[in-house]
């Protein structure tokens, strides 16, 4: 591989080795990504911190010269969804509310990446406060899908997924509350992970729905994601919901045969024929390779969205109460009373989708609607139990990531019910806490990416990665790039 191929397609391991061996200078590498970001017109970044990235690259080059021990991500540039705090830089959440707000501390995940010598490039676009499935609710405008600029990149981590697909970064951090990493990964033809709830610290992730949110990586392959996961996961005393589990160790190659379950939803009318076709053909391939494949009736895909909406909006209505225009963030120009200060600041600072969800969540949490809230918890528990059942027999459970390939910009933005519906398969993992990864599975007839979701047992990322890496070892789907990147 020559350097430009390496930069466009190389794995983290390959790029890091090239940098450490002096084949590629860190500054040169970073500059290359900065140029890509600057030349691209897909609006994947909200902010680019060129000077900081170059300064950091120089420091790393110096470190190498002085024979310092290179970290596991030495010289690897990364982008961060703009709802994760990086000290000293704006964390806008793609909202007018936080347009000029600068983080006063680093998220735990940022510290962990920087400790391994990764290089922070800038912040990527998202749906406002991560509420959406298309980045269309961003205050800074929609990100364009690199495969087809008339289409959405998915959301809410659309900027991060689009940045990876268009070669603007080696990996990116996203956040996933109902599918916000996996759905845009599928729409952009890249790999995205939502780990088991409690594996990755949320400290520094601006909360949407605390009991469902997880930070996770989007990247070029399951192999890269596994490395990132091994670095960002683990107990954090600043997030009491993180589990005290052993440090994750990257899994080696395997020759074992997997027990694979797939959902009968694949045959649903709602699934686009291209997605159904590609998933069935990969299942066939797996069968030919000697793995055990079984169809499983999973009856929760139709319940996950309403339950997810109820729980996530309830928590969001409380989590977003702090934006009151008093201590930071947007404050209305004029007001005559406290109530007016609140109403105007929040009314003017938040966009439509955010307001819709706050109102819905506020309504749900009212004492008289308590039954809706508590029964949603029950459904969540049922989903978890059902998955646990599946994993007593199977290693992994396969679903489509989405019903359809990426839709057109503006196509369903005015139809929130349809928009929310696209979380049906992904939100299952958030409700149950299970880990899920979306891997690319080729293209539709129109050259649009397709994604497949793999779910594993809770805290069994090892199995998840082994399987995902295995598929990526027998297929080349994850190496597909949009025309312009090739």
């Amino acid at each position: 591989m020559n350097n430009s191929e390496l930069i466009a397609k190389g794995s983290i391991k390959e790029i890091r080795e090239a940098v450490i061996n002096g084949k590629l200078h860190t500054v040169e590498l970073v500059n290359c990504f900065i140029q890509r970001i600057k030349n691209n017109r897909i609006n994947s970044f909200i902010s680019l911190y060129e000077d900081n990235a170059l300064k950091r690259a120089e420091e790393l080059d110096k470190k190498l010269k002085n024979r310092g021990k290179p970290g596991k991500l030495f010289g690897i540039p990364y982008a961060v969804k703009d709802n994760i705090a990086v000290k000293g830089y704006e964390v806008t959440c793609a909202s007018k509310m936080l347009k000029n707000y600068k983080a006063t501390y680093n998220a735990t995940v940022i510290n962990r990446l920087n400790d391994e010598d990764a290089i922070f490039l800038g912040k990527t676009n998202l749906d406002e406060f991560a509420m959406g499935s298309s980045t269309e609710t961003s205050y800074f405008g929609t990100t364009l899908n690199p495969w087809d600029n008339s289409r959405v990149p998915g959301g809410s981590s659309g900027g991060s997924a689009a940045a990876i697909a268009s070669g603007e970064s080696v990996f990116a951090l996203g956040s996933d509350t109902g599918g916000s990493i996996r759905q845009p990964a599928a729409f952009c033809g890249v790999t995205g992970l939502k780990a088991t709830y409690g594996c990755v610290s949320r400290f520094g992730l601006v909360a949407f729905a605390s009991s469902l949110d997880q930070v996770g990586p989007i990247g070029r392959s399951a192999e890269d994601l596994e490395l990132i996961f091994s670095i960002i996961s683990g107990f954090d005393k600043k997030d009491t919901t993180t589990k005290r589990i052993e440090n994750y160790k990257v899994s080696g190659p395997t020759k074992r045969k997997f027990n694979i379950a797939y959902t009968n939803d694949i045959f649903s009318e709602e699934i686009s024929p291209d997605i159904k076709g590609n998933i069935l053909s990969i299942l066939n391939l797996l069968k030919e390779e000697g793995h055990n494949i079984s169809e499983v009736a999973f009856n929760f895909s139709k319940h996950s969205v309403p339950v997810y909406q109820i729980l996530s909006c309830s928590e969001a209505s409380s989590n977003l109460a702090r934006y009151d225009g008093i201590r930071y963030g947007y404050q209305t120009k004029s007001y005559k009373s406290l109530l007016e200060l609140y109403n105007r600041s929040r009314g003017e600072g938040f966009g439509e989708e955010v307001k819709r969800r706050i109102l819905f969540g506020t309504y749900i949490l009212m004492a008289k609607n308590n039954a809706l809230y508590t029964s949603s918890f029950k459904v969540s528990r049922l989903i978890r139990e059902n998955l646990e059942n599946i994993f007593t027999e199977y290693d992994v459970f396969i679903t489509p990531t989405t019903f359809n390939p990426p839709f057109k910009i503006g196509e369903i933005i005015d139809d929130p019910i349809r928009m929310h519906h696209s979380d049906a398969f992904t939100s299952i993992c958030n409700l149950s806490g299970n880990p899920g990864i979306s891997i690319p599975l080729g293209l539709t007839g129109n050259n649009l990416p397709i994604g497949m979701q793999i779910i594993a047992k809770r805290f069994d990322e090892n199995n998840l990665f082994q399987f995902a890496k295995y598929i990526q070892s027998i297929t080349d789907y994850h190496k597909c790039l949009p025309e312009e990147v090739k």
Partner: protein, 472 residues
């Protein structure tokens, strides 16, 4: 006859060095907004983490209040908007740390158990200062300070019981050293709810806020009971509402009615895992609980045969009762020690506005003074004077008495000599006395004592004076 039913909610700060959910200092007198961080300011992306020390202290309190501790309690969010609340919600508990406790108080009819419904941990808010009509300032130093909320059942019948309960509760909190419980510093806040009824049905209750002293609590409850009765007597109805005590006008005023009370939208705090209390934590705290006020009260009354009022004074401050018991142990008389402590020492401290810890008189001093009195070397008045003199020097009694030459004059010859002298100096008074003005006897005693620098044994002076005058 109307019967009042009262329940009381107390918020007591828990004495920790740092806040409940972050590492910021807890300090009463810091400059505004100096003890704050991204967590207690509710900045985007931060998460709370629990202060273990606060939890241990809360467990100690729950044990001292005879409550059952829940092995698993759950944090919850109480959602409302106010500028002193940084996150738009307060972290409190839905499943409380402890339930079903009680405090024993003394009433006219003997002991009474005030049952406690629940005890839970929560966080304090910031503080608003209204500087003038247009500007309000917020100090967030208090934001996130740990609080213990203690809620009684509605079992209190009048303001006296309420005060007895609050005093006893405050004593317990101070005995177990989990809070200064200083009302003026806002470390101990009381919110009674009050209803009245003629029969067994519970009346509609009102809640009273803004009570900054026990006096205010007492007056407000009394006022509220009377106000409610007056309304009912006129055929009116009580409105369920929150009242504010107006200290200036000494009345309760409507703050907000129930209709206006926010819907708090409680739900489980998703940022905090449930609080798990282990047996080790409980046992560790059990060991740290000293003898508590009510048992101390009962023991003092029984063991030393002292009065109820005096026992109450002694137990109000555990250091005072320990001091008393030490002095007896060292050999002081019970009556003398009680008198010195409850009148002289307390008087000295009150007058000088100094804390007990500044006092240099030790129980040994009291025992020594007592010895001198028993041996008739000094009299009670001299002893009291000595207490005042050595209060903040701590000079040994022996040394002081010798240096000031205070040894009591018991030698009858010299006392007789002095009596003769003063009778000679006051001939008119002698004449009036002999004519039957008996009141002047005291005058002669005073003159004689004065002449002897107060050192004479008053019993001997009295006896000799009577003898001499009778001879005339």
């Amino acid at each position: 006859m109307y019967k009042a039913t009262i329940g009381i909610e107390v918020h007591s700060q828990i004495k920790t060095r740092s806040k409940m959910f972050c590492g910021c200092k807890v300090e009463f007198l810091s400059a505004p907004n100096t003890n704050i961080c991204s967590i207690c300011m509710g900045e985007p992306g931060v998460l709370p983490y629990t202060n273990e020390k606060a939890i241990l202290l809360a467990i100690r309190a729950a044990l001292a209040l005879n409550a059952q501790i829940n092995k698993k309690s759950v944090f919850a969010r109480k959602n409302y908007y106010y500028p002193d609340l940084t996150k738009g919600y307060q972290i409190t508990q839905s499943v409380p740390l402890a339930e079903n406790g009680y405090v024993v108080i003394n009433t006219e009819n003997g002991e009474k158990k005030i049952t406690i419904h629940r005890i839970h941990i929560e966080e304090d808010t910031g503080k608003l200062f209204h500087t003038n009509d247009k500007v309000s300032m917020i100090d967030f130093n208090r934001s996130g300070v740990p609080l213990l909320e203690i809620v009684t059942d509605p079992v209190i019948e009048n303001e006296k019981e309420a005060i007895s309960y609050l005093k006893r509760l405050r004593q317990i909190i101070r005995y177990i050293d989990i809070s200064g419980a200083d009302m003026e510093k806002g470390q101990f806040r009381c919110e009674p709810n009050i209803s009245v009824s003629k029969d067994n049905r519970r009346g509609i209750k009102t809640e009273v806020k803004n009570l900054n002293s026990l006096k205010a609590v007492e007056k407000a409850i009394k006022y509220e009971i009377e106000r409610q009765i007056t309304i009912l007597e006129k055929g009116g109805k009580i409105i369920q509402q929150t009242m504010l005590w107006d200290e200036k006008e000494q009345v309760t005023k409507t703050m907000r009615s129930k209709e206006g009370i926010a819907e708090y939208r409680y739900f489980k705090e998703p940022d905090l895992i449930p609080l798990i209390i282990t047996n080790e934590m409980i046992n560790e705290q059990k060991e740290l609980i000293p003898e508590l006020p009510q048992s101390k009260f009962n023991r003092l009354v029984k063991e030393y045969n002292i009065g109820i009022n005096e026992a109450e004074i002694l137990i109000d401050n555990p250091r005072l009762s320990n001091y008393f018991e030490k002095s007896i142990e060292k050999g002081c008389g019970i009556k003398e020690s009680l008198g010195w402590i409850t009148t002289d020492i307390m008087g000295i401290l009150n007058k000088s506005e100094k804390k007990f810890s500044y006092l240099k008189i030790t129980p040994q001093h009291l025992a020594d003074l007592y010895k001198y009195i028993e041996n008739k070397i000094i009299n009670m008045n001299i002893a009291k004077n000595i207490l005042h003199e050595i209060a903040f020097t701590g000079e040994p009694v022996d040394k002081y008495i010798k240096s000031k030459n205070l040894i009591q004059i018991t030698d009858t010859k010299s006392i007789e000599k002095i009596i003769d002298e003063i009778l000679e100096e006051n001939p008119t008074e002698v004449k009036r006395y002999l004519k039957g003005n008996n009141k002047l006897f005291g005058f002669f005693v005073g003159q004689a004592m004065k002449k002897m620098g107060g050192k004479a044994n008053p019993t001997i002076v009295n006896k000799l004076l009577k003898d001499i005058l009778n001879r005339r």
